[in-house]
């Protein structure tokens, strides 16, 4: 382990602190159970944080959760919109995460190729 690498942690963590405060337009939840981690969820999260930072997107809250039961579809991320709409993305790789930032979190367009489930507000109420 390189100590110089670790020293960057403080700066990075401060950015992360800003990303975990609630009441934002989007909430991105990463499935970070054993299966998700083994499938590369951490790298997906790292690349998403990096892309959010690059693009200066601030209306996104980032959270983690344990196993969600979609073991064969990991890494899984769920994007919850303030309006109640939820989109689940499966088998996301780091490039996919960047695409989701560019399309979904910046322009509001769901990335069709990666999305597996979408719950609209109207369906949830039923």
């Amino acid at each position: 382990m390189n100590l110089d690498e670790l020293k960057k942690l403080k700066e990075k963590a401060q950015r992360q602190v800003a990303l975990r405060e609630g009441n934002k337009k989007y909430r991105v939840v990463f499935s970070m159970g054993t299966s998700g981690i083994a499938a590369g969820a951490r790298e997906v999260m790292t690349s998403m944080l990096d892309e959010l930072d690059k693009r200066g997107i601030e209306n996104v809250e980032v959270a983690v959760t344990g196993e969600i039961g979609l073991v064969d579809a990991e890494p899984v991320i769920r994007i919850e919109e303030k309006s109640g709409e939820k989109v689940t993305y499966a088998k996301v790789n780091p490039e996919g995460a960047r695409k989701i930032v560019a399309e979904h979190l910046q322009k509001g367009k769901v990335v069709d190729g990666l999305a597996v489930g979408k719950i609209k507000e109207s369906e949830q109420k039923k």
């Binding site: 382990m1 100590l3 942690l9 963590a13 990303l19 159970g33 959270a63 983690v64 344990g66 196993e67």
Partner: protein
Amino acid sequence: MLEELSLHILDIGMNSLAAGAKNLEIIVIENTVRDWLIIRIRDDGRGMDENTLNQVLGQNLTSKKGRKKPIGLGLAFLRQTSEMCGGTFHVRSTPGRGTSVTASMRLSHIDRPPLGDLNSTIIALCANPDVGVQLHYRSNNETFHFSSKEGKSNEPRRTQETQGKGSTSSRAA
């Protein structure tokens, strides 16, 4: 299997978050002279009783209700890795007080996975605003300390160090 030790740390740390921990302490000690790598993950979550603890170590167990087939490989994975690399693995837990997981391995063992991207692990664990995450890293004579509460409240680190039990473990090195 997890390819980096930092991924194991993330995995065990996620258990702590699931156990409702408010404080999570990660200690990594590398000692090239004695050829040891020690990883300790300590939390103040809800802990486990003796039965659960035995089950956790004996087989794969999950706390999820309604699941007939036990899953949950995190601790078993780490135990396998440390025993494979000439080390030991211990879990100590007190219900209501927390859990401490200690894994050691031979630093120079050919099968020892690299520590990997510890930064990303800590960042991921910091995603929960209710949990204070601390990292104590020591490599021979160099040390590094991190606390997720530091940036937020501007508390001097000294106070937190004396509060935590981190000092005991660094002395052990």
